[in-house]
């Protein structure tokens, strides 16, 4: 990859935009219960902010924000969170992915289901975000090796 200091304008605008993109991604994830959105969309927007920083400031500084070695582990973690939610519900007496049986005290059945949906969406978001970044890094592997 070429040097990252070619255009200070691009760097400055990307640094300004990235936090707002991340904020919007969190809104999309956590507001998925009430409006269009959810784990897949929010995770993709999160990944977009990280990839924007990598494009703008280059590989070295991008690594400070999100390490290359994290992405593959995090993508597995996201799927694992999803599967674990189902397994916990199964161990506590329900069917697989029956969120009613999740151990969250002080909530009615319907509210527990809403919490289960939220946990699942967070898992999906983490998995999708890390997978997008992982694919981007893998495609740039040639540049890193040169």
């Amino acid at each position: 990859m070429k040097t990252s200091h070619e255009s200070p304008i691009v760097v400055l605008v990307s640094r300004l935009l990235a936090p707002f993109i991340q904020l919007f991604a969190l809104y999309v994830i956590f507001h998925g219960h009430y409006s269009p959105g959810g784990g897949f969309q929010g995770g993709t927007i999160l990944a977009a902010s990280v990839i924007l920083m990598r494009l703008a400031v280059g590989e070295q500084a991008g690594n400070l924000q999100f390490r290359r070695s994290w992405s593959s582990k995090l993508s597995a973690t996201g799927v694992f969170i999803y599967a674990l939610t189902g397994i916990v519900a199964m161990l506590l007496g329900g069917m697989y992915l029956d969120y009613k049986f999740l151990p969250i005290p002080g909530l009615t059945d319907a509210e527990t289901r809403a919490m289960g949906i939220l946990m699942v969406e967070i898992g999906v978001a983490i998995g999708v975000m890390a997978t997008m970044i992982s694919i981007y890094d893998d495609l740039l592997e040639e540049h890193y090796n040169d």
Binding site: G32, G86, A110, R113, A114, G116, E121, D138, E141
Partner: protein, 102 residues
Amino acid sequence: MKLLPLIMVCLVGALMIYASFGLPYRADVNAPFNRDTSAVGSIGAANHYIRNAMKDANTPNVVTVILADYRGYDTLGETTVIFTAGLVCYLLLRRKEYENKS
């Protein structure tokens, strides 16, 4: 050692074929997904979802409830597909650590 993966694939495939025998016939009127009818009398599971989504999951967005709760298996599969795509890219393209070792 190619034999072990082959045996694993055959076992999982046999398990899935075995599980498919437990599914109800598609046109069966008494199947759970054909039990509910809409206001005009047409049969389908969608009517049940639309009517009970708020009651079951306390979530106003019906799409989210169907995606993550009623069809949770489906979404788990979708997430796994994306994870698998990333994993294949990792296996095919990333070779920095590999080259360092050899």
